[in-house]
């Protein structure tokens, strides 16, 4: 707590200005990187400005008028999903731990078929703006919306903070700009995209970013491979001969060595993806269920391709960076730790690598790509968070679906500003956490709160409001409490000696608990409301299969008439 307060104080600009900035990557390269940063910022602002004109109604603001094509949406989903945690964080995990980092990437990818098979089409048939629309289709509006909104906001904040930390690090490293200044600028940009351009601007920022990231990753991967004469064997031999862990980096271990931790992390990665509010929200930007399904296929292909490129970057960074002390903080005795002393932290491995194999131009380009990556993801997250507040809490719970659309969008925009400010403050206090782990925490909440409620409401006739609310709260509290008691918070932040919860990830416990609660409190629910809700499952089932209302050209509302 003390440290948190200290961090809050430090967020005041005066205190922050006094801090020293960390070393930068060579002054002469700066103008290239600056030029590319500026180009990206200008391009996204032009997109936002142009989108502002076409963002008038509520449907425009939340879903770009349901008019995004499947290919565009697929790219935007990939842009939303391939975050700083995926690009910088996982290549850093591969750099530090070898193959383990790649298994992490595989878990991220495995969530996608699950999203496709279980979620995307039904969600589109049952809802219009947020995933709570589908969850509340036949269940009672107020409680379901509230728990869905809380689940969304917790996930959004965790994830946002992880992204903002990545953003701060990249900008700090390249320009020697203070970390706080960097984080504040990202916060201002994301608030601008969302409040001015809504979903239209957010989508195009994400498409731009996806294209840049895929091209940049390919270019960098190609440069790394050419450095090793396109021989993967040479690359692995070089990596295992210089890495402190030696040949162990070629075998899985560490992160996935202990089965309970590994399964828990795997569950969070796979089912968390199917419960991320900013991803689920993207299915409403297309016209119909077929569009939602096709967009997942495009997105999966992009994510899969990128998952194949990431290990090349991570493994390639090992021999290229570790042999050159200029990438590390070297102590007085000329010694340095090949993992922890990397300038800017291990998350910067991919960025340093681009400078090492491609010179200042590639370094500038990849830094700009990493920056664009972060901008696109934080914009999507902010939009998902503000729609949970504007649409679910204000529009459906407070105004009971009778408020004006204009007012609801206005509330959402105010919420976007609030979320932005909160994210900046949190990003400042959690500066030195590994971003991939923080994203893992967000995923476990998504897997234990959002996913069980949505899946049970969609697929199980017996689900009642009482069951869904108990399950959501059980999953949410269980995962948050276990995360607090685990090493990353209890030891690293509160400074206790040993963690009370021995595993990194709570999903193995919190997710089944959520399902158990939903089942238990549904089957024991004998109220007339519960009977009505079970009967209404038929209508929901028909609509989720053939999408009656949406295809008939009528606006789908999320509330089932009793």
């Amino acid at each position: 707590m003390k440290r948190f307060l200290a961090a809050l104080f430090a967020t005041f600009p005066f205190a922050a200005a006094a801090q020293s900035t960390s070393a930068t990557v060579g002054r002469s390269t700066d103008w290239i990187a600056i030029g590319m940063f500026v180009a990206i910022v200008v391009a996204t602002l032009v997109i936002t400005y142009r989108s502002a004109g076409s963002t008038k109604s509520k449907a425009d603001f939340y879903t770009a008028g349901h008019a995004i094509t499947p290919l565009q949406n697929g790219l935007a989903i990939a842009g939303d999903f391939l975050s700083a945690a995926a690009f910088l964080g996982i290549s850093a995990l591969v750099y530090a731990n070898g193959l383990d980092g790649f298994v992490y990437a595989l878990g991220f990818l495995t969530g996608w078929p699950i999203v496709l098979f279980l979620m995307s089409e039904r969600l589109r048939n049952l809802g219009s703006y947020t995933f709570a629309d589908a969850a509340a289709f036949r269940l009672e509006r107020t409680p379901i919306r509230l728990v869905a909104a809380i689940g969304s906001l917790v996930v959004v904040l965790f994830y946002l903070v992880a992204q903002m930390i990545g953003a701060g690090k990249v900008i700090e490293l390249l320009f020697g700009v203070n970390y706080l200044v960097a984080v504040v600028s990202v916060g201002i940009l994301m608030i601008l995209y969302v409040t001015v351009g809504g979903m239209q601007a957010t989508t195009w920022v994400q498409i731009t970013k996806a294209a840049l990231l895929l091209c940049g990753g390919t270019l960098l991967g190609f440069a790394v491979l050419s450095h090793f004469d396109f021989s993967v064997a040479t690359l692995f031999a070089a990596a295992s001969s210089i890495h402190p862990k030696g040949a162990a980096i070629l075998a899985p271990g560490g992160l996935f060595a202990e089965p309970i931790s590994a399964i828990s992390l795997g569950l969070a990665l796979v089912f968390g993806t199917a419960g991320l509010p900013h991803i689920l929200m993207r299915f409403f930007t297309v016209k119909d269920a077929a569009g939602a399904r096709k967009s997942v296929f495009y997105a999966t292909s992009c994510v899969a391709y990128f998952s194949l490129v990431i290990p090349i970057l991570g493994f390639g960074a090992v021999p290229i960076l570790m042999s050159d002390p200029s990438y590390f903080h070297v102590n007085a005795a000329g010694q340095f730790n090949k993992i922890t002393d990397l300038i800017g932290g291990t998350n910067m491995a991919a960025i340093h690598l681009s400078g090492a194999v491609g010179g200042p131009v590639l370094l500038g380009f990849m830094s700009a790509v990493a920056f664009a990556t972060i901008l696109a993801v934080v914009a999507g997250l902010t939009l998902a968070g503000c729609s949970a507040i504007g649409h679910d809490i204000y529009g459906q719970v407070i105004a009971k679906g009778r408020g004006s659309d204009a007012r609801e969008v206005w509330v959402s925009k105010i919420a976007a500003v609030g979320i932005g400010i909160l994210a900046v403050l949190l990003a400042y206090s959690f500066e030195n956490q590994n971003v991939a782990f923080m994203a893992g925490l967000a995923l476990s909440v998504a897997a234990s709160c959002n996913f069980p409620v949505l899946a049970m409401a969609i697929f199980w006739r017996g689900t009642t409001t009482r069951g869904a609310v108990s399950g959501a709260l059980a999953g949410l509290f269980c995962s948050v409490i276990l995360v607090i008691l685990s090493k990353t918070v209890w030891v690293a932040i509160f400074g206790f000696k040993t963690a009370l919860f021995p595993y990194e990830n709570p999903a193995l416990f919190s997710m089944p608990l959520a399902f158990l609660f939903i089942w238990l409190f549904s089957v024991t629910d004998r109220s007339t409301r519960a009977t009505r809700e079970r009967t209404a499952f038929d209508a929901q089932f028909v609509q989720s299969e053939i999408g009656i209302a949406s295809a008939a050209g009528t606006r789908v509302l999320a509330e089932a008439t009793p």
Partner: protein
């Protein structure tokens, strides 16, 4: 809201073509999900039980077995999603939209 009435709902649910559509889709959906999950968690189990074997190089490929398996799984994941989309496009969409037209008015 255009909510189908309860009678209408029962009428659609009783329709044999709707039933066959729903059950064929459910079969595809759950079987592909199970395949995906077994593949991923099977790999996790393999890591826990046969970790050292996964570090050995694959003969003729010069990459470790674990990496080879992980890369193959990435390809399989794309194929599974592609298969689902292909089946839905070619078999389910037309029937769903025909039912939708018949009952939607």
């Amino acid at each position: 809201m255009l909510q189908v009435t309860r009678d209408r709902t029962q009428e659609i649910i009783a329709e044999p073509r709707f039933q066959s559509l729903a059950s064929a889709r459910a079969k595809l959906r759950w079987s592909l999900s199970v395949v995906t999950l077994i593949m991923f968690f099977g790999f996790i189990a393999l890591i826990a039980t046969a970790r050292s074997a996964l570090g050995l190089p694959v003969a003729g490929l010069s990459i470790p077995l674990g990496l080879f398996l992980a890369m193959s799984m990435i390809v399989v994941v794309v194929m599974l999603t592609g298969f689902y989309v292909y089946m839905s496009n070619s078999r389910f969409d037309e029937l769903a939209s025909r039912l939708n037209r018949e009952f939607g008015q």
